[in-house]
C-alpha cells in the first residue's frame, strides 16, 4: 500500500503545482480529497488491513491527507491573489469620466441673502417677526407718521386693493416692511429686538432697476437707553459681516417720517471702490439702507412711552445686495425664473 500512497502523493503534488484556475483546483480536490478519491478509499479500507499494516499505512495516509489539504489551501490563496492582481489590471477605470449625475437644487439668491442677513442679526439677538403682505393703510402709513396727502406717500407709489363694502379702511400691498415695525410696536412689550423680512410692492413699471415686487428686511429695537450710537454700531456690524471688514461705511442725515434723527447708510461702491462710476452715480457711495431713532409719536401711537423707552429702526432693500455682490445689472432677472440665471448662485 505504501508505494501506492507515494505514487499518489507525487502525482497529486505534481498536478497541483501546475494548476492555475479555480475550476481545475476544484476538480483536483474532488480527485484527491473528494469522497470517492483514492485517498479516501484507502482511508476507509484501513479497517480491512492487518493491524501492523493498518498502523503504518494509516499514519502515512493521514499525513498525506494533511499535506494535500495544506497544499490545496495554499493554492487557493495563491489563485485568489493572482485573481486580484489580474483583476486590478483588467478593471482599471477612466477616472476622468464624469460621475453619475445627481440633480442639484439651489435656494433662490434672494432666499440665500435673506437667510444670511437673518443670521447676522440673529447673532446680535434679533428675532424674526413677519406680517401680512396685504396691509391696512394704518400700519403702512398712518401709524408711521405718513397721514393722507403726506408728500412721502408720493415716493412710495402704492398698489391699492379693490375696496369691499365691509372693509373698515383702505387695503394695500405694503410698500415697505416698516409696516411690520408698526405692528410690532403695537403688539409687543419692550424690550424688543426683531427683524422683519418680507415682500413689498410698488405701483411701478418694470425696468432694469425697478420691479413691482421685491424684498426688504426692517428691524426695530426698543429698550431703555438705546442710542443712535447703538444704531450705528448695529448697522456697522451688519455691513462689516455682509460686505467685509475693509468696505468703508458712511452714515449721513436723511429723512423718513417715522424716525428722528434719520439716517442713511451707504457703503463704498463695490464697482469702483469709491473712485466714482456709473453704478454709484459718480459719488463713490452706494446707499444700502435707511434708519433712524424711532419717532416718539410712532412709539406713542403703538402704546410705548417714549419718555421711558428709546428705539431705533432700520430698513434694508434686499435685491440690491446680491446685485452689488455679483454684479447683476438687471433686477428683473430675480423674478424671471430663468434657470440659466438661478443656477449661478
Amino acid at each position: 500500500m505504501l508505494p501506492q500512497l507515494e505514487e499518489l502523493r507525487s502525482k497529486a503534488l505534481q498536478e497541483l503545482a501546475s494548476i492555475d484556475d479555480a475550476r481545475e483546483l476544484e476538480s483536483w480536490r474532488v480527485r484527491y480529497l473528494g469522497k470517492k478519491s483514492k485517498l479516501t478509499t484507502i482511508l476507509r479500507s484501513l479497517a480491512t488491513l492487518p493491524l501492523e499494516e493498518r498502523r503504518t499505512v494509516g499514519a502515512r495516509a493521514n499525513e498525506l491527507k494533511t499535506e494535500l489539504e495544506n497544499g490545496l489551501r495554499q493554492k487557493e490563496e495563491a489563485l485568489r491573489e493572482a485573481e486580484l492582481a489580474k483583476g486590478a489590471k483588467q478593471e482599471t477605470i477612466d477616472i476622468t469620466l464624469p460621475g453619475r449625475p445627481l440633480p442639484i437644487g439651489r435656494l433662490h439668491p434672494i432666499t440665500q441673502t435673506l437667510n444670511e442677513i437673518c443670521e447676522i442679526f440673529a447673532s446680535m439677538g434679533f428675532g424674526i417677526v413677519e406680517g401680512p403682505d396685504v396691509e391696512w393703510d394704518y400700519y403702512n402709513f398712518e401709524a408711521l407718521n405718513i397721514p393722507q396727502e403726506h408728500p412721502a406717500r408720493d415716493t412710495m407709489s402704492t398698489c391699492w386693493l379693490e375696496q369691499q363694502k365691509s372693509d373698515k379702511q383702505a387695503m394695500l400691498l405694503r410698500t415697505h416692511t416698516t409696516a411690520v415695525t408698526a405692528r410690532v410696536i403695537e403688539s409687543m412689550e419692550p424690550p424688543i429686538r426683531v427683524i422683519e423680512p418680507g415682500k413689498v410692492y410698488r405701483y411701478e413699471a418694470s425696468d432694469a432697476t425697478h420691479v413691482p415686487m421685491f424684498h426688504q428686511i426692517d428691524g426695530v429695537a426698543v429698550d431703555k437707553g438705546i442710542t443712535m450710537a447703538d444704531l450705528k454700531g448695529t448697522l456697522y456690524e451688519f455691513a462689516r459681516r455682509f460686505f467685509g471688514e475693509e468696505r468703508k461705511v458712511r452714515f449721513r442725515c436723511d429723512y423718513f417720517p417715522f424716525v428722528e434723527p434719520g439716517v442713511e447708510m451707504a457703503i463704498e461702491c463695490l464697482v469702483c471702490n469709491g473712485r466714482g462710476c456709473r453704478v454709484c452715480g459718480q459719488s463713490g457711495w452706494i446707499e444700502i439702507l435707511g434708519a433712524g431713532m424711532t419717532h416718539p409719536q410712532v412709539l406713542e401711537r403703538g402704546g410705548i412711552d417714549p419718555e421711558v423707552y428709546q428705539s431705533f429702526a432700520f430698513g434694508i432693500g434686499i435685491e440690491r445686495l446680491p446685485m452689488l455682490r455679483y454684479g447683476i445689472d438687471d433686477i428683473r432677472l430675480f423674478y424671471s425664473s430663468d434657470l440659466r440665471f438661478l443656477r449661478q448662485f
Binding site: V134, P151, P191, A221, A229, K232, C253, S337, D338
Partner: protein
C-alpha cells in the same frame, strides 16, 4: 432743486470748492445728486465787443467782424446774420475747445483761410459753447459784459442738483440752501435787501380780500403794481431761471418764479383789470365748477378744492395753477400780486386729482409758512417796480386768520446725549441752533427753550432739535457701540423653522427654488381649468393694476410655476425640478385676506441629466409622489394618499395627500388640456402642500422608540390579485398583524405567467417581536393567517 453757485454767492460767502460743498450738504441731509459745470471748457474764450463789420470780398453770406478784446482787435470770418456793431459777444481764440456746429463733436479751434480770407478765432454761437442748440445766430451778451474778461468768469457757473427731502420746504429756495451753508461753514448770510417807493392811493381802496375758508388758507397777501410794461425779463434773470430748469415767459411771470426760487414762496400775478368787482375771494370750489387753467385746459373742480375767485368766477386754482381768464398778457398794465399760504394736504390732493404737479404746488404741499408771504411779496413787488417800470400802491393787503404763536421746545444736553449716545455741551447746542436761525433762551440751569425760525415748520419736538445738532456736527461724530441691554426673549413663529426645513429638503432632492410675483391675471388662472369653469372664489383684485398680467393676487402658486416650465424648456434639455414656497391670498370678509403658505413643486423631463450612465428614462408620477413621501417622512408626518378630483390634474393620475383626516395637498400628473394651455408639450407632474395647515402636524411631540433587541425574521411572498385590488388594501391587511414590523413592496408585475385581469405583487414582510426571538413556527403561523385573510378579503392567491 437746482442751485447755481453764482446765485447762492449773493447771499453767502462761499469759500469751499463745489465738490466739498456738495459733500457737506449731502452729509447734512440735502443730497447732491450731481454737479454741473457751465463753461468748464471755455479756457480760450473771452468777452469781446464788435467794433466793425465789413463784407467778405468773395462770399455774400459771410462777413468780417472786427472784435475788440481789450488788449487787441481781431478780424475774423463769420456767417451769422446777427452781427451788430456795439454788441458784446463771446470770442474764441485759436486753441479754444468748441463744439462743432455741424457735427456736434468737440474740436480745437485752428487758424483757417475761409474763401481766401485769414481767420484766427471765432465769434461763438450758443451751440459752439455748449449752452444750447442754437447755431443760427451768435450769442449776444448783455451790454454790461466786461470786454476782455474770460467768458467762464462772466458766464460760467457751477450748478448743484440737490435732492430736498419732503420735510424741508425751506430748502426749495436759494436762500434756504444759503442758510444751510451758513450753518455748515460758519459763514454769514446776506439776505436780499428790499425797499421800494409806494404811491397813493392805498391798496385797501383798490382791492378787497376775503378768505371764506380759512381752514384751507391761513393767510392771503397781495400788492398792486400799476403802469407796468410787459417785456422780456433781463438776461441775468432769464439765465438763472433756465439754470434752475424754468422757462422764461415775460418780466412779470419771471419775477414771480424768480422770487419763488430765491425765497421759496410761490407767487401769482393776476391782471388786475380782469379781477371783477375788484375783489378776491378765497373759497372752496363749487362741485363741478369749471375753470380754464393757464395751460388752456378746461378743469372740472370739486368741493374739496380751493379756488381764488373774484365776485363772479374762479380766477385761479389756489396754489396749483392760475386761470386763463385773469392771465397776464402783453396788454396788461396793472398787476395784482398774490402771496398766500395754503393747507398742504389740500394742495396735494388738488394737484394729484387734477394731475397738475407744479413748482408751486410742490412747495405748498410741503408746507409754506404764513410768515414767508410778506417778505416774498415785497421782494417781488420791488423787482416789478424796478424791472417792469411799475408804480406800487400804498401798503399791502394782508388777511391772516391762521396766525399762530410759535411753541418753544425744551432741550437739555442730557436729553441730547441720551438719544445720540455722545455728549454735546449746551453751548455747542446753542451755537449750532443759533447758526440755523433758532432762538435759544435759558429755561433752567441745564435746559434751554428753543423757538424755531418761521421757515422751519418741520421742527416740532426735542428730537427734531437733536437731529439738527447731530447733522450739523456730522453723524461721524457719533460713536459706534453695540447694544448693551440684556437679550430680549424671542418667540419665533414655528412656520419659520418649518419653511427652512422644507426648502432645505427640496434642494436636497435636486429642486431649484423660484420666487414668482404675487400678482397674476385671470387669464393665467383660467388656464388651470380644463373646462371653462368659473373661478371660485374670485381672487382679490387691485384697484390700480399697473398691467393686465398683474391684476389679481394669486390664490395658487400653480399658474406661475407652469408658466416658467415652458420658458425654461426652450433652453433646458434635461429634467426640470422647480419649487416655490410662498403665500397665496384668499378673500376674507371684512378683514385682511388670509395668507396661507403653500409649497408647489413641478417636475418634468428626464429623470437623470443626459450622461454616459443614464438610460434617458422620464420622470413620472412616482417621482413626484416619492418627493412628497420623502419630505413628509423627514418632517415626521404620516400621510396617506387617496383618490382625488382636482381639475388641474389628470383625472386618473392624481392623489390627495391626506394627513390626519385632512386633505392638505395633491400630487399628480398635469391634465393634458392644462398642459396644452401652458404650452407644455411633455408630461409634467405637480405637487402642492398647504404648509400652514401642515404645521400643527409637524409640531406633534415625538417619543423615542427603543432599538429592537431581538432579530427580525424576513419572508418574501408573491401574490396574485385582481387588477382592481390596490397595494394599499394589501398593506393594510398585512400591517394589521402585530408581529409585522414592516411591509415593503418590491415587485409589481402583470403579463406572461399571470392570468388576464390579474397582477402579481411581491412583498417582503419583516416580523419582529419586542420580547423574544421569533421561532419559525411562530412566523409561519402568522404568515398563514395573513394569507388566509388576504385570500378571504381580496381573493389573493400565492403565486406558485
Amino acid at each position: 432743486m437746482k442751485v447755481p453757485l453764482k446765485w447762492l454767492k449773493e447771499y453767502i460767502d462761499l469759500t469751499l470748492p463745489p465738490a466739498e460743498l456738495a459733500e457737506k450738504l449731502t452729509m447734512a441731509g440735502i443730497e447732491a445728486g450731481g454737479i454741473e459745470v457751465i463753461g468748464e471748457r471755455w479756457d480760450n474764450v473771452v468777452v469781446g465787443e464788435i467794433v466793425a463789420v465789413k463784407p467778405h470780398p468773395n462770399a455774400d453770406r459771410l462777413r468780417l467782424p472786427t472784435v475788440d478784446l481789450g488788449t487787441e482787435q481781431q478780424t475774423v470770418v463769420c456767417g451769422a446774420p446777427n452781427l451788430r456793431v456795439g454788441d458784446k459777444v463771446a470770442f474764441a481764440r485759436v486753441g479754444a475747445e468748441l463744439i462743432d456746429g455741424h457735427t456736434g463733436q468737440l474740436t480745437r479751434l485752428k487758424p483757417a483761410k475761409i474763401r481766401g480770407v485769414e481767420s484766427s478765432g471765432m465769434v461763438c454761437s450758443e451751440k459752439e459753447l455748449g449752452i444750447s442748440d442754437n447755431h443760427q445766430e451768435i450769442l449776444v451778451l448783455p451790454p454790461d459784459a466786461p470786454v476782455g474778461a474770460p467768458l467762464a468768469e462772466y458766464l460760467g457757473d457751477v450748478i448743484l442738483d440737490l435732492e430736498v427731502t419732503p420735510n424741508r420746504a425751506d430748502c426749495l429756495s436759494i436762500i434756504g440752501i444759503a442758510r444751510e451753508v451758513a450753518a455748515l461753514t460758519g459763514q454769514s448770510l446776506h439776505p436780499p435787501k428790499v425797499s421800494y417807493e409806494e404811491s397813493p392811493p392805498p391798496i385797501a381802496e383798490q382791492v378787497a380780500i376775503e378768505i371764506a375758508d380759512p381752514d384751507l388758507c391761513p393767510r392771503y397777501c397781495a400788492s398792486l403794481i400799476t403802469g407796468v410794461k410787459i417785456a422780456e425779463s433781463p438776461q441775468w434773470m432769464q439765465r438763472r431761471l433756465l439754470a434752475c430748469g424754468m422757462r422764461p415767459i415775460n418780466n412779470i411771470v419771471d419775477i414771480t418764479n424768480y422770487v419763488m426760487l430765491e425765497l421759496g414762496q410761490p407767487l401769482h400775478a393776476f391782471d388786475y383789470e380782469k379781477i371783477m368787482g375788484r375783489k378776491i375771494i378765497v373759497r372752496r370750489a363749487e362741485e363741478g365748477e369749471i375753470i380754464v387753467s393757464l395751460d388752456g385746459v378746461e378743469r372740472t373742480l370739486s368741493h374739496d378744492m380751493l379756488v381764488i375767485a373774484d365776485e363772479v368766477r374762479a380766477v385761479a386754482i389756489a396754489g396749483v395753477m392760475g386761470g386763463a381768464n385773469s392771465e397776464v398778457t402783453e396788454e396788461t398794465t396793472s398787476i395784482l400780486l398774490e402771496a398766500a399760504s395754503f393747507n398742504p394736504a389740500s394742495i396735494h390732493h388738488t394737484s394729484r386729482s387734477l394731475s397738475l404737479p407744479s413748482e408751486a404746488s410742490m412747495r405748498f404741499e410741503r408746507g409754506i409758512r404764513p410768515e414767508l408771504t410778506i417778505p416774498a411779496l415785497k421782494r417781488a413787488t420791488q423787482l416789478m417796480a424796478e424791472l417792469a417800470g411799475g408804480k406800487v400802491a400804498q401798503g399791502v393787503a394782508d388777511v391772516y386768520p391762521g396766525r399762530r404763536k410759535p411753541k418753544p421746545i425744551r432741550l437739555s444736553a442730557e436729553k441730547t446725549k441720551a438719544l445720540l449716545g455722545v455728549e454735546f455741551s449746551l453751548e455747542q447746542i446753542v451755537s449750532t441752533l443759533t447758526s440755523l436761525g433758532f432762538e435759544c433762551q435759558p429755561a433752567s440751569a441745564d435746559e434751554i427753550q428753543v423757538t424755531p425760525p418761521y421757515w422751519r415748520g418741520d421742527i416740532q419736538q426735542a428730537v427734531d432739535l437733536i437731529e439738527e445738532v447731530a447733522r450739523i456736527a456730522g453723524y461721524d461724530k457719533i460713536p459706534t457701540t453695540m447694544l448693551s441691554q440684556p437679550l430680549p426673549r424671542q418667540n419665533p413663529a414655528p412656520i419659520i423653522g418649518l419653511r427652512q426645513k422644507i426648502r432645505n429638503s427640496l434642494i436636497g432632492y435636486g429642486f431649484q427654488e423660484v420666487i414668482t410675483y404675487s400678482l397674476t391675471s385671470l387669464e393665467m388662472l383660467r388656464k388651470l381649468r380644463p373646462e371653462a369653469q368659473p373661478l371660485e372664489p374670485t381672487p382679490l383684485r387691485l384697484a390700480n393694476p399697473m398691467t393686465a398680467d398683474q391684476e389679481y393676487l394669486r390664490p395658487t402658486l400653480r399658474a406661475n410655476l407652469l408658466a416658467i416650465l415652458e420658458a425654461n424648456r426652450r433652453h433646458e434639455e434635461d429634467g426640470i425640478r422647480l419649487f416655490e414656497l410662498g403665500k397665496v391670498y384668499l378673500v376674507r370678509e371684512g378683514d385682511l385676506p388670509d395668507e396661507p403658505e403653500v409649497l408647489c413643486g413641478l417636475l418634468s423631463g428626464t429623470r437623470e441629466e443626459k450622461s454616459w450612465h443614464g438610460d434617458g428614462s422620464l420622470l413620472d408620477f412616482f417621482d413626484a409622489k416619492g418627493v412628497v413621501e420623502g419630505l413628509l417622512a423627514k418632517l415626521g408626518v404620516a400621510a396617506s394618499f387617496e383618490p382625488s378630483d382636482d381639475a388641474s390634474f389628470h383625472p386618473l393620475k392624481q392623489a390627495a395627500i391626506v394627513i390626519g383626516d385632512r386633505r392638505l395637498g395633491v400630487v399628480g400628473e398635469l391634465h393634458p388640456k392644462v398642459a396644452a394651455a401652458f404650452d407644455i408639450s411633455e408630461p409634467a407632474y405637480l405637487f402642492e402642500i398647504r404648509v400652514t395647515d401642515l404645521l400643527p402636524f409637524t409640531l406633534e411631540h415625538k417619543m423615542f422608540q427603543p432599538i429592537p433587541r431581538f432579530p427580525p425574521t424576513v419572508r418574501d411572498i408573491a401574490l396574485i390579485v385582481d387588477n382592481g385590488v390596490s397595494h394599499q388594501q394589501v398593506v393594510d391587511i398585512i400591517k394589521g398583524f402585530s408581529l409585522v414590523k414592516q411591509v415593503t413592496i418590491f415587485d409589481v408585475y402583470s403579463g406572461k405567467q399571470v392570468p388576464e385581469g390579474k397582477k402579481s405583487l411581491a412583498y417582503r414582510i419583516t416580523y419582529q417581536s419586542p420580547t423574544h426571538t421569533l421561532t419559525d413556527e411562530e412566523v409561519n403561523k402568522v404568515q398563514e393567517q395573513i394569507l388566509r385573510k388576504l385570500s378571504q378579503q381580496l381573493g389573493a392567491t400565492l403565486r406558485g
